[in-house]
Amino acid sequence: MIKAVMVMNTQGKPRLAKFYDYQPVEKQQELIRSVFTVLSSRAENVSNFMEAESIFGPDSRLVYKHYATLYFVFVFDSSENELAMLDLIQVFVETLDKCFKNVCELDIVFNYSKMQTVLDEIIFGGQVLETSSTEVMKAVEEISKLEAASNAITLVPAKYASGWNRR
């Protein structure tokens, strides 16, 4: 099972944090910090594996990928294949790339909700849901359409709408 997905920048600022076994918010931040401390000390051109048991407890593995200013980190247990997890990071990033056309950190910062939607179509309750980025894109676009339809309604000036409701 996948325990957590984290995206953070090279300064250690979290850009996405999803924990598939519940962690209180302070613990989440502590875990992100610990991971970042180790990641930032790793050189380029080394393996994508990092010792995780001292941070996440026994039976935890961690793979990460470094893209420009971002780290993508997956934490999981021994029931998953390490390299397959690494591939899944690649699928996640490729899908984001399709979404935003050459994704950069700013896209992710300002489209936090979209990134969350993409992730939810790839990983579901800590399990791999979909591995084809084409399929993921289809699902995400469907959701976007539904959202856009609802946004259109709000083009009615909000002031009037709320004024109506209050009366």
């Binding site: 979290p14 519940y22 302070e26 393996s47 026994p58 294949n81 936090y112 979909e130 709320s162």
Partner: protein, 1016 residues
């Protein structure tokens, strides 16, 4: 740059980004939270768009690390909104902010169900995603059938069905009963005929979870898995979108091979042959290529294939082919593949007959110790450690020693421990062992724990041939200009004991030895000075005829320390001074240390505790079984010198001012004390265990009476380090802790038998809480060790004494608990077969100078493995009749029952999860109940109970218990009997020691529990 389409959110994110520091950020966040809170209060004024905007802001704030503790109710209520945007927001925020135990969730179950059974696919997806992420037990019970329907429905789109598969997996994890094992197996097999690879991938994950618990039920899925693998490996009918860098869905290939690893054997020769063909194709057809992503994907498949080959226990030829492949991998340029190559080689060690092939790669593995990547270096170290045996120990250990000087600080401790263990286990000769340990101390003294030098002292003491050699070596190290303090300790100790064996060599006269050791005294800490004083006393004794000058020098030192502020130093100075004035009597008292009794190496034990990598751990265990320790130690239980000490007098401990009379006492105690005092080198012993190692002789030599009287006297004197001795040598029943528990340990245990979380133990220093989760025959207990003090608790040790029917694995318990901190230690429990025996937690810690040791019963009791089951009369009676007579059905008349009204008895049964079925028995004085028991040997097994009471005499009843397993029937009958007869609080269970009645102030038991609940 694309924008989210929510302007307010973008503005807020920009604001946060523009914050100069954390303080500004906090102010901005607080302002926003205040704003959202006000807006939520007049909820009617919010448009769907606004709600959505605010909720995304909340999630963003939550991700930044701020607690969002409001709006939960609003979020949950949005789920029932009729329109997509509000519903979507409701589901997303609920899944992010709430956990499965949140009370509000329960309110939403019906709405969620309506969305799942409704026709709107987008709503179905939203609902499934939420349940799949945070659905708990209650969701499992009420939603599982509907989710199953979606999964097997032919009219649903793959998008919905793949989510349904994983949602069902979540529900199954929460309650295994929701997947009806018998009926489901066929459906599961049908699901594997699916053509859509997305649905198939999800279904495969579900299958993996199911077969990991019940492989025998899913036999029919095995050939289908092989078919899927063939389809993928031959790239037949794989759509373009599922081909990843030219490889047909590597994830599905990997998952399928994972599923196959849960079937113990593949009997059908045709299936086996097809599978081996596919595996062979994968093994042969994978090359290292330039594209990193392609490489990763193809090797993901390849490494999984290797695991499967190992699991299938293939012919030797195929295995050597695998090792050859791995040998190739550990030398490639691609670091990920080097890493996995080493890791898989370590796993491979467990397979018989390949060790020799692996040894051929030793040189390459040693090179990996110098890899630029620490992850790879760690794997190399693990592998070297695992593959070490008598034949290559010298090479490997010497490599490790060499590497020690250049290795990272983070690895040094592990490295030195591993080197020490290998040296001890596989030493071709003992002088080499001494060399290794001394080099270890010399090169990495800071990382050499006390266990390591204690152990070398023990070896030297027990092996006479080794003594002159060790003394020479120690003498050589003392010539070095700057040596580590641990080296001072070990050299001083060894020279004190054995330097007289060298007396004729140049530079080894007592005077020389004394002055070279004494030179170090100004540089050492107070924990080392007592050792030096002992060494001086020993040198003095060995100087025959006495050398007056040396004697005066040493006496002057003793006198100087007679007023030392450190009690340990002062005591030794006073004693040695008095003793050394006894003249020849000194020789009897300060004679050579007796041999230590052989015991399990504390080092190896420690290493096993440290190991967390499961594969590695089993490698160690395997080794431990294969290689009996070749420690060449003879146990000599007779005291080699002097007579046993007289019973009683303990004036020594109090360190009185030295006057003529108490002098006499001191001398009499000498024989006993030399050993004891010398061993207690640290005023704060690192661990009770370890002390036990060095204190061994004391425990054995003294007649039981002597030991006891000493120990009772000791516990009377507060804060005397010898309390540790008591813990180490006193048998279970007689443990005397100076620290009294708060509350009644037995009552706490009994309360925990009926609930899943609460306080197990508490005293003024520590609180131990337990939180348990039970699923079928497995349980996960988390021990919460909370330090209540403002100073750390050290030498924390926890050992599980588990009865044979429970397999228990306790995670690493840290040696030290920082002040006011709480550490969590998960404990995994697997129940192998029915039994009422109870596991015990042997727990100890040191606070200040007192060692506290407790044996606590763990609430991993039989009723935790029961799951109530509701049966109708039509289901109950055929079962009842089919189980006819002993040993499956046992009847007993129980007398001396605690008199209970029938209603209360029914409650009692329900409280330990045996479900009373009202109205099933026509006689109103009888009770009929049913439950399911889980263990590895019995699987889920139905148990039926009938109790016939006598309204005229409530103290007796007739009980009949039936199940499909004779042991289970018997154990359950005895268990229920205990519940009926016993008064809560009385001890029960053969493995459980009777806990001491509490002497501390009694606090109502629910009080600390409430406190703990707050902590959790």
């Amino acid at each position: 740059m694309a924008l989210s389409g929510m302007r307010g959110l973008s503005v807020f994110i920009s604001d946060i980004r523009n914050c100069q520091n954390k303080e500004q950020e906090r102010l901005r966040v607080d302002k926003e939270l205040g704003n959202i809170r006000t807006r939520f209060k007049n909820e009617k004024g919010l448009t769907p768009y606004e709600k959505k905007k605010y909720v995304w802001k909340m999630l963003y704030i939550y991700m930044l690390g701020y607690d969002v503790d409001f709006g939960h109710m609003e979020a949950v209520s949005l789920i029932s909104a009729p329109k997509y945007p509000e519903k979507q927001v409701g589901y997303i925020v609920t899944a992010c902010l709430l956990n499965e135990n949140h009370d509000f969730l329960r309110l939403a179950i019906n709405t969620v169900r309506n969305d799942i059974i409704g026709r709107n696919e987008t709503f179905q997806c939203l609902a499934l995603t939420m349940v799949g992420n945070i659905g708990g037990r209650e969701f499992a019970e009420s939603l599982a059938p509907d989710v199953q329907k979606l999964l097997i429905s032919s009219s649903c789109r793959p998008l919905v069905r793949k989510k349904a598969a994983l949602c069902l997996l979540r529900l199954y994890r929460k309650n295994p009963d929701v997947v009806n094992v018998d009926g489901w197996a066929d459906r599961m097999a049908q699901l594997l005929d699916e053509r859509d690879l997305g649905v198939l991938t999800s279904s495969m994950s579900l299958l993996v979870a199911l077969v990991s618990n019940h492989h025998e039920t899913y036999w029919s899925c095995l050939p289908k898995c092989v078919k899927i693998l063939e389809r993928l490996a031959r790239n037949q009918d794989v759509p373009q979108e599922y081909t990843y860098y030219g490889i047909p869905s590597p994830w599905l290939q990997v998952k399928t091979m994972r599923a196959l690893q849960y079937f113990p054997v593949i009997e059908d020769p045709n299936t086996r042959r097809s599978l081996f063909e596919v595996l062979q194709r994968i093994l042969m057809g994978t090359d290292v290529v330039k594209n990193v992503n392609k490489n990763n994907a193809s090797h993901a498949v390849l490494f999984e294939a290797l695991s499967l080959v190992m699991h299938l226990d293939a012919e030797k030829e195929m295995m050597s082919q695998c090792v050859a492949l791995l040998g190739k991998f550990i030398a490639v340029r691609e670091p990920n593949i080097r890493y996995l190559g080493l890791e898989n080689m370590t796993r491979m060690l467990m397979v018989t007959d390949v060790q020799d092939i692996i040894k051929r790669h030793q040189a390459q593995i040693i090179t990996s110790l110098k890899d630029p990547d620490i992850s790879i270096r760690r794997r190399a170290l693990d592998l070297l450690y695992g593959m070490c045996d008598v034949s290559n120990a010298k090479d490997i250990v010497e490599e490790l020693l060499q590497y020690l000087s250049t290795s990272d600080f983070t690895m040094r401790e592990e490295l030195s421990l591993k080197a020490a263990i290998l040296a001890e286990k596989f030493a071709p000769d003992l002088s080499w062992y001494v060399d290794v340990i001394l080099q270890l101390i010399d090169k990495a003294g800071d990382f050499v724990s006390d266990d390591i030098w204690f152990r070398v002292v023990q070896f030297v003491t027990n092996n006479e041939d080794l003594q002159p050699y060790a003394a020479v070596k120690a003498r050589e190290y003392l010539d070095k200009p700057a040596i580590h303090e641990t080296m001072v300790k070990v050299s001083a100790y060894l020279l004190g004991e054995y330097s007289h064996l060298l007396a004729r060599r140049p530079g080894c006269s007592p005077k020389d030895i004394f002055s070279i050791i004494h030179e170090k005294l100004p540089t050492v800490s107070t924990s080392t000075i007592p050792i030096l004083l002992s060494t001086y006393a020993k040198i003095l004794m060995h100087t025959q005829p006495p050398d007056l000058e040396l004697q005066n020098q040493i006496w002057a030192i003793f006198q100087k320390y007679e007023s030392c502020i450190d009690a340990e130093i002062q005591q030794r100075a006073v004693e040695y001074f008095a003793l050394s004035r006894k003249g020849p009597a000194l020789a009897d008292i300060l004679a050579e240390m007796p041999k230590f009794p052989e015991r399990q190496s504390a080092l190896i034990k420690k290493a096993e505790d440290i190991e967390t990598d499961t594969a590695e751990q089993s490698a160690i265990k395997l080794r431990a079984q294969q290689q009996p320790s070749n420690a060449l130690v003879v146990t000599d239980q007779r005291p080699p010198n002097g007579t046993p000490p007289p019973v009683g007098s303990l004036s020594l401990v109090k360190v009185p001012s030295m006057s003529g009379n108490s002098d006499y006492n001191v001398v009499d105690q000498g024989v006993n004390q030399t050993n004891g005092t010398l061993s207690k080198t640290d005023s704060q012993p690192p661990s009770a265990d370890l002390l036990g190692d060095l204190l061994g002789p004391l425990a054995i030599e003294g007649p039981p009476g002597a030991v006891h009287s000493e120990q009772t006297a000791v516990s009377g004197v507060e804060g005397v380090p010898s309390a540790a001795d008591a813990a180490a040598i006193v048998p279970l029943e007689e443990q005397t802790n100076s620290v009294q528990p708060i509350g009644n340990i037995a009552e706490r245990f009994h309360a925990l038998c009926l609930k899943d979380s609460g306080v197990l133990y508490e005293d003024p220093h520590i609180q131990i809480g337990v939180k348990a989760e039970w699923r079928a025959h497995q349980g996960r207990l988390v021990l919460f060790l909370g330090n209540k003090n403002t100073s750390p608790l050290v030498s924390v040790h926890a050992l599980i004494l588990s009865p044979s029917h429970l397999k228990m694995e306790l995670a690493l318990v840290p040696d030290t608990i920082p002040p006011r901190a709480q550490v969590q230690c998960p404990l995994e429990v697997t129940n192998l077969r029915p039994s009422r025996d109870i596991a015990v937690l042997d727990f100890s810690y040191t606070f200040g100078t007192s060692v506290v040791n407790n044996k606590l019963r763990l609430p991993a009791v039989m009723n935790k493995l029961l799951q109530p089951i509701q049966l109708t009369a039509e289901e109950f009676f055929p079962q009842w009749r089919s189980l006819s007579g002993p040993p499956l059905k046992l009847q007993e008349v129980v007398r001396g029952v605690r008199p209970l009204p029938l209603m209360e008895m029914a409650n009692l049964f329900n409280s330990f999860r045996v479900m009373v079925l009202p109205g099933l028995d026509p006689n109103p004085n009888n009770l009929v109940a049913s439950t399911t028991f889980y263990s590895e040997s019995t699987r889920a097994m139905l148990c039926l109970v009938r109790v016939e009471t006598d309204p005229a005499d409530r103290t007796q009843l007739r009980m009949t218990v039936a199940s499909g397993d004779p042991t289970l029937t018997f154990e359950l009958k005895e268990f229920i009997k205990e519940q009926l007869v016993n008064i809560p609080g009385a001890s029960r269970g053969p493995a459980a020691p009777a806990p001491a009645p509490p002497k501390g102030p009694a606090i109502p038991p629910d009080d600390p529990a409430a406190l703990l609940a707050g902590l959790l």
